[in-house]
């Protein structure tokens, strides 16, 4: 199975940490060091007894079987769950003519894999929600390497198609994503439904991050001559001349982007735009870079 994360990006991921502004400081200093082992609900591992361990932590039944002291270690749950939301509408399948095989959805998959990798390394729980017209596909939040594999498996099977799902189908999102969870939305953000969902999540005290994804053609509009432009979601077509449309499109599209950014800012949604020819970790760096916010380890 092809690795979704390029090697260079993987090496650069080490500098990044998933950060939630809402999670930090909420449950007291130190709580976010979720690796603090000890009593807890979830069993983590056995380890050999070391002098200084509490006697009550020794698993006596195991001692009876093996005649050695083992300390039963539990891991407390991370206070943070990272949810990766991927928009799988047909518009996400758009790719540049100059770089076929690298669609918006491919980039979204890679970004999702990166985020899963980051969360895994931090011991955070993470889950995946694919928003497609046919219905939501959902990988419940969890942690560990197997969780990552489940997410990767789901990502590999992911195909874009249809439109953005109606609000009525989005109920599972509200069931699963708890308060103060981190939500990363990977979408082109063209659809009003995406923005609305993000605003609602943000208003409901979820930490929402947005990565609006653009193709190079949308940013530069490099078309020359006549084209038959087709909207992949509605199927509408427009015959147009690239040169004649360029200035007007760039102006309108820029305005729309500005409006979107203002909307996201007003809703307290951090966002980092990603264009398909940029390095994959750039939006993550913008969102989670160490300079931007308090580190979360």
């Amino acid at each position: 199975m092809q690795d979704l994360i390029p090697a260079q990006v993987r090496s650069r991921l080490k500098e990044l940490r998933l950060v939630s502004r809402r999670a930090t400081g909420q449950q007291g200093i130190g709580l976010h060091h979720s690796r603090s082992r000890g009593a807890g609900l979830e069993f983590s591992q056995y380890r050999a007894y070391e002098p200084g361990d509490e006697l009550r932590q020794i698993d006596w039944k195991l001692y009876a079987r093996s005649d050695r002291f083992f300390v039963r270690e539990a891991e407390r749950e991370s206070p943070l769950a990272a949810w990766i939301l991927i928009d799988a509408s047909a518009s996400m399948a758009q790719q540049d003519a100059l770089r076929p095989g690298w669609s918006r959805l491919d980039a979204a998959k890679s970004l999702a894999a990166c985020i899963a990798e980051l969360a895994l390394r931090q011991g955070d729980r993470f889950g995946l929600v694919v928003l497609s017209e046919s219905g939501l596909r959902l990988v419940p939040a969890g942690d560990g390497a197997r969780q990552r594999d489940r997410v990767l498996l789901e990502l590999h099977a992911l195909q874009a198609g249809g439109t953005f799902p109606a609000t009525s189908k989005l109920a599972p999102v509200w069931d699963r994503i708890g308060a103060s969870d981190l939500v990363v939305m990977l979408s082109d953000c063209f659809d009003a439904g995406v923005v609305e969902l993000m605003q609602q999540l943000s208003a409901a005290r979820r930490e929402v991050l947005a990565i609006p994804m653009l193709t190079v053609e949308e940013r530069d509009f490099p078309f020359k001559g006549g084209y038959r432009f087709r909207d992949p979601e509605t199927g509408e077509e427009l015959l147009g001349d690239g040169d004649a449309l360029r200035i007007e499109f760039l102006r309108r599209f820029g305005e729309a982007r500005e409006a979107l950014h203002a909307q996201l800012d007003a809703s307290g949604i951090r966002h980092a735009q990603y264009v398909l020819d940029e390095p994959l970790d750039l939006p993550l760096r913008r969102l989670f870079g160490s300079r931007d916010a308090a580190e979360y380890t």
Partner: protein, 393 residues
């Protein structure tokens, strides 16, 4: 200079100009569908698509030009009046060249000899007699109407005909001292000796010939030399005197070789209707009777001539023998036609104006156009097949 078309209907081929226009208008690239999710920002202000746009302007223009030229080529363009407007000076041989140049003030004038082909004055003077009047008419017909024509002539002209030439324009006729070289004059026939050689059964005809020969002597003013054409008659076996110029041979069958050689050497012989001659020679009827049927045919043979009777020389078949005109007509058969006088004083021979003018022969532009078309075709192929080129037509 004026261009015109011999086949203007071929200009209908200009309709083919629509072809490259349509080809370049088709714009295959427009059929290429492109997914574009941000269509709503593209769509909001629909631009009018009625504006015609063509791909690859240079190639289109080149193709249009090529087709237009091709249509023009089909229409057979001709260029009229390309002869130039500079004054033309024709110099008749016999004039001193320097003196002729001195009379011409215009530096733009074109100086040529008045000779076939109009050689330039720098070339040596054409030798031999020139048909002046004929050349003058030709020159006048070939020059465009507006061109001033000056003819420099010597005082004495040769080779003219009996009428003052009538040209389409008023020409300048300059007479300079000098004379054209006189043509060689063949001396007139002085003492025609007439001999008759006959077969034995043709003896009756001899007396008519003898009578005619003696009638030649009885002219109204017989000169000393031309008066006595010797007449001799004899059988075919009798050899012909070397000085004999005219001979009548009245015998069937082929000519004797000696006689044949004599004719080839310049003799004139009147042969019987039954004499066999070498076939294939063109025969010219030189004497008709009143009804138009031929009496005597003339055949060239070497330097000489053979006059062949078409019927027996007897009054029953040829009543002309009995007519008083017979001696004169017989002599006219033998004699060369006299030369018309061709020498004239140049002052009396200045051409008259008011003759017919002729349309100028236009120059055919088709070969030049064909070359241009071939060049353009190469250029078009190069433009259309070079490597750095889009997908369009």
């Amino acid at each position: 200079m004026s261009m015109f078309l011999l086949a203007p209907a071929a200009l209908a081929a200009l309709a083919a100009l629509l072809l490259p226009l349509l080809i370049h208008l088709a714009r295959r690239s427009e059929q290429r569908p492109t997914d574009f999710a941000a269509l709503r920002w593209l769509r909001q202000k629909p631009r009018p698509r009625h504006r015609l746009r063509f791909d690859e302007w240079p190639l289109l223009l080149l193709r249009l030009l090529l087709l237009a030229l091709l249509a023009l080529w089909l229409a057979r363009p001709m260029l009229g009046g390309s002869g130039g407007a500079a004054p033309w000076v024709a110099v008749v041989p016999g004039v001193d060249i320097e003196a002729a140049r001195a009379t011409i003030n215009d530096p733009a004038a074109r100086l040529h000899w008045l000779a076939p082909g109009s050689p330039a004055l720098e070339q040596p003077a054409p030798s031999g007699p020139q048909p002046i009047a004929s050349l003058l008419r030709q020159l006048d017909a070939e020059l465009p109407p507006g061109v001033v024509l000056t003819v420099v002539v010597p005082e004495l002209l040769q080779g003219v005909d009996a009428e003052r030439p009538r040209l389409s324009r008023a020409i300048e006729w300059r007479v300079l001292p000098g004379a054209m070289p006189a043509p060689e004059v063949t001396p007139p026939v002085t003492a025609p000796r007439f001999a008759v050689r006959h077969a034995s059964d043709r003896e009756d005809a001899v007396r008519y010939l003898r009578a005619a020969a003696s009638a030649w002597q009885a002219g109204p003013n017989p000169s000393a030399e031309a008066a006595a054409p010797h007449f001799s008659a004899g059988p075919t076996s009798q050899p012909v005197d070397a000085h004999t110029r005219w001979l009548a041979w009245l015998a069937p069958g082929a000519l004797q070789p000696a006689i044949d050689a004599w004719v080839k050497d310049g003799g004139i012989i009147l042969v019987d209707a039954e004499t066999t001659l070498a076939p294939g020679q063109p025969r010219v009827v030189v004497w008709h009777d009143a009804l138009g049927s031929p009496l005597v045919e003339a055949i060239r043979h070497g330097k000489g001539r053979v006059l062949r009777l078409t019927r027996p020389l007897a009054p029953a078949t040829m009543p002309q023998l009995l007519e008083p005109e017979f001696p004169r007509q017989l002599r006219a058969l033998f004699e060369n036609p006299a030369l018309a006088p061709t020498r004239v004083s140049a002052r009396d021979y200045s051409p008259l104006a008011g003759g017919d003018s002729y349309p100028q022969a236009p120059r055919d532009l088709q070969p030049w156009l064909a070359m241009l078309i071939a060049l353009l075709l190469l250029l078009e192929r190069w433009l259309a097949t070079r490597r750095r080129r889009g997908v369009a037509p």
